[in-house]
Symmetry: none
């Protein structure tokens, strides 16, 4: 691996600032977390998008959330075929090893992945339909959501609905994992769907009674 | 999806605190980020572990880092086979769509995934060798790293080395993606390997000259 | 222009050091900033004083702050009379072209310009009252601040208060620019007043509720 | 001034990081600078552009440079008419009070102000010709430079030449200030013209012999 470079100096400075302030203040607790292991109360699955900042929104410190971030906060269906399944591995580890009490799927507005899915499913993005497109094949997970929203209102409304379907499809797929279903049915785990508007900072939660999202 | 529950009240309270403080202070910028799109300078691939807090370590606010988090901060090799490849999709999006300038792989001490890999490769965790173990199949990515460290020192030292191999293997695999290699060779992208000790908060970077990690 | 000299060698050496280190580390990002244009989040108006180092205090790298520096960090009132108004031009460009989200006025202790204003307004610096004194005429902007502090405590206290008035007067004058007022009222821009003690490195922010400065 | 807001939290964190590291390391020197006054060796006049980072390029610490930044690093001609002249005040203070030994004008590529001047002088930006346009009236200073380059090569070449004229015009105007001319002629002050390409980080200096810019 001959290509790696040292850390850019602007991040070196910020790291030293963190070490001298936040870390210094919390050293005793961080050492316990290192020695005794983590015990996060919740797992969060959110998007990689730089504008979604789950630790900030929930004022979380180290040790609180086990966080998986991928394109469009998607969970694929249960497929134990022996291949690499990064997202399924995170869910398995959180539920069976860490035994988190809450599993939160956090969607968001202005999602590039969801926009790409909308274009692809509408036939406007042939490059995403290529077998070699990792983003396209990943967004295939959201196709069932597209089918549910494709005839709704105008383009802006369909996109908003599809962003929320990315949460609902993931919640649906989570229940196809036997260990998730079992933990939920035993009352050891609760699932939560959220969607945030990144400009205004609004937050809505999924209400299964009428499959709608309501303000928190 | 009948199983979803409302957000636990402790998180509802924290969210409202964030909305009234951090969001209120930064509203103009967050609205611009929503309206004009993100332009993150760097992508970070880190572990889901609740004790690894990349935004805190680097004092990052919304919009700065595109963050993928998975078990043990691993990147699989390039495999454009048409299946769901969540991690590969994040790398593809960051490099080809967002054109990030830095791609940072951040490993850490006390990593449960790496510990599992060590046990599995040492024959001490048959359950991880099952075809149906998502964590086991995901940690297969790190097997080339295990082969390099298996004869080194004592168990504690091997584990430390394997945590760092999780960074090096990922950097190696990143270079198997044609679009990553091209961006690196054109000088449009730099790769960086980091490892942090979560108790003391130390940070080391990978130096390719002698394949070692050095304090930042 | 026959008088220009080559760069002094001590600066040539430092430049080559920067090129080989900081620039080399950040080349991909700096090229993107050049090709795609700047998108600074904030404008800072600070003093030219060599002891005020805004990029250092805030750990800023290239691209983060649009920075105007003048004597005593002053903003004159809105005067669209067709003359050269260098400071007004910077505010106009930042707010209407760059659409920064934050506009920060950063004052400081031990300010020579403020000291000069105090002497001039107290009748102790007739040379600054000359029509031809550029510093004197520039410091006229701060006269309303002098009127508010002239009867306060002893000389040291009055000077400290006048340094802070340089921030408040500038914030007041900023609101006389129609494009600033409009952006503030629409929530697209927030104004911030700061004052730093350059020896101890303390930093205070202006709190409008009681027109006082509080530690950050 | 009822509109000011507290400092955004991302900057509060960075400030505390700076205080605990850079400031702590340099406290003795910064205290001396506060107690004994600044004694900068050079004045730099550069652009407000967020991508021009003079302290970084020259590895400068607090106390080294007296820095004025305005749109397009321009110095207007000597006009002692009793109005506010922010730039002239900075030059007067640096040369007569601080007695700096070097006065450096630093221009740069991709300058929005210079681009605006080019458009305005070419008749393509009527909004900049309005009396009320602060940017337009400020860029009037560069009109003599436009006249010298308007018939040169293609648009890209003219723009590059005009960026460099912003340096030469400023050097010319500096010599119209009696106190600058006197200090230069007595050998107490040297003037320097620089231009930097912000992507590649190249730096050139103005050579008066043939009115050209040469690599440093």
């Amino acid at each position: 691996m001959e290509h790696a470079k040292p850390l850019p100096s602007y991040l070196v400075k910020r790291y030293h600032g963190w070490k001298a302030t936040t870390h210094a203040e919390n050293r005793a607790w961080y050492k316990r977390l290192a020695n005794e292991g983590q015990r996060p109360r919740a797992m969060v699955i959110s998007c990689c998008d730089s504008r979604v900042h789950v630790t900030s929104i929930f004022g979380a410190d180290q040790g609180e959330f086990f966080i998986h971030r991928n394109i469009a906060n998607l969970v694929p269906p249960y497929e134990p075929d022996g291949d690499h399944h990064g997202t399924s591995a995170t869910v398995e580890y959180a539920v069976t090893a860490l035994k988190v009490a809450h599993l939160i799927v956090l969607g968001h507005s202005n999602c590039g992945g969801v926009q790409g899915c909308m274009s692809m499913c509408s036939g406007e993005a042939p490059e995403l339909e290529e077998k070699s497109s990792f983003v396209g094949r990943w967004m295939d997970i959201l196709r069932p959501g597209f089918d549910r929203v494709k005839d709704e209102g105008d383009a802006a409304r369909r996109l908003r609905l599809l962003e929320k379907e990315a949460v609902v499809v993931s919640l649906d797929n989570l229940m196809t994992f036997p260990f998730v279903r079992e933990a939920v049915e035993k009352g050891n785990l609760s699932l939560h769907g959220l969607w945030t508007e990144i400009g205004e900072g609004d937050l809505e939660f999924f209400s299964p009674a009428d499959r709608s999202f309501q303000p928190v």
